[in-house]
């Protein structure tokens, strides 16, 4: 891997060079009732819109690769005949400025299902391949448990990754395009002192994680505790609102529905993200619901993230960003659920 350093004041120059493209990044959206700043990823218009000292954004970055609603195809209908038009809805590259490692890892995990596997999804791949990612190191917040999930640092899936060393940024460079941009701002080779400083910053970050989730043998424990009472207790609390999936960077389940215009001449096929916590998730026509209870739906969500995905892809689908726990109206957080299922309340 190639490393570079550049002084902090040159960050705006890097931004301006990239800003001939559409820029997306963390930006301040307002304050909550306790006065805490709320951030979200959005299109940026100036460097000042960028809030690089952001705490976890409300929503993840997934909507730029996996929109909540997306038109998959449209139909021209002429009485009994029809024609299908497919548009994967990608027209230009995006620059993602300031993505934290958990969100980069989330995209890497989505790649495994949506870009790999048996039927690669062109709607996703088209968008994913046209994203230029400038990663940014973060400092752990109380709800973060990415350290436990092994997603606190990103190894791939970005173009360049910035680590704050006080007066300068230490950059990991993963693509030729990123190297070219860094040459334009006259970034330098890091000195031995910079290496040392970088290692210190990372060591300090590792010390600051407040929340831990024990992931040893979690797949087996989830199987052993399939009928645990803890699931019913959490199920009683759950409101089945699907907010957790809404904010989750790796929830990709969806439903497809077709709508026809009133003149019966055109129709659209729309994909909308869904949540496994919603009542109709596994309901089949004829009325049978494979997961009618709240507890089985909640349990299923944990099984898919921490067991099913591990079996299929050797790693958990959860990145430990803690957004679901923060957004949950019933205060259900993964660290607590997993601890209680393990029998450690």
């Amino acid at each position: 891997m190639i490393f570079k350093v550049f002084p902090k004041k040159k960050l705006s120059l890097l931004y301006e060079l990239l800003a001939v493209n559409t820029m997306v990044g963390p930006t301040l959206k307002g304050k909550d009732r306790n006065g805490k700043s709320l951030y979200d990823f959005d299109v940026l218009y100036t460097f000042d819109d960028l809030a690089l000292d952001y705490t976890a954004t409300i929503h993840s970055a997934k909507r730029f690769v996996l929109p909540y609603h997306e038109k998959l195809s449209s139909f021209d209908i002429n009485k009994t005949d029809w024609k299908k038009h497919v548009d994967i809805n990608v027209y230009k590259p995006l620059v993602f400025f300031g993505m934290h490692p958990c969100d980069i890892n989330a995209l890497n995990k989505l790649d495994m299902v949506l870009a790999g596997n048996v039927y690669p999804n062109p709607y996703y791949i088209g968008k994913r391949k046209n994203i230029f990612i400038v990663g940014l190191d973060c400092s752990p917040e109380p709800q973060c448990f990415c350290h436990s999930m092994g997603t606190d640092s990103a190894l791939h899936g970005f173009d360049m990754f910035l680590t704050d060393l006080g007066d300068k940024y230490f950059v990991e460079v993963l693509s030729a395009t990123a190297f070219d941009f860094l040459s334009q701002i006259k970034s330098k080779e890091p000195s031995k002192k910079d290496h040392q400083h970088y290692k210190q910053v990372n060591a300090l970050k590792n010390k600051n994680f407040a929340t831990n989730v024990e992931t040893n043998d979690l797949t087996k424990i989830l199987d052993l505790e399939f009928d645990a009472k803890a699931w019913d207790q959490w199920g009683d609390k759950c409101l089945s609102c699907g907010t957790c999936s809404n904010v989750c960077p790796t929830c990709y389940c969806y439903g497809v529905e077709e709508n026809i215009d009133l003149d019966l001449k055109n129709a659209n096929k729309i994909r909308s993200l869904h949540s496994c916590n919603l009542l109709d998730f596994a309901k089949v026509s004829g009325g049978h619901n494979f997961r009618p209870e709240k507890s089985t739906r909640l349990k299923y969500r944990y099984y898919h993230k921490h067991r099913g995905f591990v079996e299929a892809f050797e790693e958990s689908l959860c990145v430990g960003c803690g957004r679901c726990g923060q957004a949950c109206l019933a205060d259900i957080t993964p660290p607590e659920v997993i601890a209680s299922v393990r029998g450690k309340e």
């Binding site: 009994t80 299908k84 690669p120 999804n121 088209g126 391949k129 077709e258 129709a267 096929k269 026509s285």
Partner: protein, 300 residues
């Protein structure tokens, strides 16, 4: 402009060697036409569907137990097991119960309606692996729809199999499907046993559970563990009883095959609606051996 990033158009091949499959195929559906509709019972109909392009029709191949996604523009898309024999290629038959929005709409369409067809998807019954062995084909209710494809395939290649027993159960005689074909299936070299839970006045056949027929068949068999394969389709409660009974009789779990039903929105392992743990019913199933089903939490 120098700093403008290159746009990668995956639909038109500017994606180099990273492309694994033609991206156009993901949302592709064959233009097909409903050539005939037969009413089988009050709620079930048999649809004969033909892929419009003769070349594509011949190219379309599937194996018994696989399913297709059937699309009606503006109405919806849903998965259905193919009920016809694989030798008929893109001239398929689907047996569909009017149960939801899509299927109820479908029950009102007439022949000549143009539909979209994608697939075939999923795993299949390994009928070739079963050559030289005795077969138990067991269906309950609408389970005869996915079972009919391997059944027809076996009938067409009858000499390749040992003893063949078909057992079919329904709630009452009115709900029996494919009654017009039963005599055709009941040949000198095939045993067809039909039973209903509740008989009516005209019914002259057997009454009772399918497990009773199975019990008799098991008593007749000499070497169930080594020379028999079973295909079981029906509601989960039925195949659980049937498979448990066969397991106790010595039939290994990996020689019993079942077809699972789940909600599906894509058929391509993406929408996650059919997911059971690590398994997608659409790409890892719908046909599973009984061992895999036993091993999956909440599969049945």
């Amino acid at each position: 402009m120098k700093n403008k990033l290159d746009f990668i158009d995956i639909m038109h091949g500017s994606d180099g060697h990273h492309r694994k499959e033609d991206p156009n195929s993901f949302e592709y559906s064959y233009q097909a036409e409903i050539t005939n509709v037969y009413s089988l019972t009050k709620t079930e109909k048999l649809y004969q569907i033909q892929i419009a392009d003769p070349k594509l029709r011949t190219k379309f191949t599937f194996k018994p137990g696989q399913f297709v996604m059937l699309e009606l523009p503006g109405i919806g898309e849903a998965p259905f097991s193919i009920s016809s024999s694989p030798v008929r290629h893109g001239d398929i038959e689907l047996c569909i119960r009017g149960a939801g929005n899509f299927t109820n709409f479908l029950s009102r369409v007439q022949r000549g309606t143009k539909v979209g067809l994608s697939g075939p998807f999923g795993t299949h019954f390994p009928v070739e692996k079963m050559h030289g062995q005795d077969l138990l084909l067991i269906a309950g209710g609408l389970g005869i729809a996915p079972l009919r494809s391997p059944l027809l395939s076996v009938l067409e290649n009858r000499s390749r199999y040992g003893r063949v027993d078909i057992m079919y159960g329904a709630k009452n005689p009115d709900e029996l499907l494919f009654t017009y074909q039963h005599e055709e299936w009941r040949r000198f070299d095939i045993n067809l046993d039909i039973t209903v839970d509740q008989a009516d006045k005209q019914w002259q056949g057997r009454t009772g559970l399918i497990t009773e027929i199975l019990k008799e068949r098991i008593q007749e068999s000499t070497d169930l563990a080594n020379n028999t394969f079973a295909i079981v389709c029906g509601p989960p409660i039925m195949f659980r009883f049937v498979c448990d009974m066969l397991t106790q009789a010595g039939l290994p779990m990996q020689k019993m095959f079942v077809s699972l039903e789940r909600r599906m929105h894509c058929g391509r392992g993406k929408c996650c609606r059919c997911n059971i743990g690590s398994t997608y019913t659409c790409i890892d199933g719908p046909v599973f051996d009984y061992w895999s089903v036993m091993n999956l939490k909440e599969a049945i």
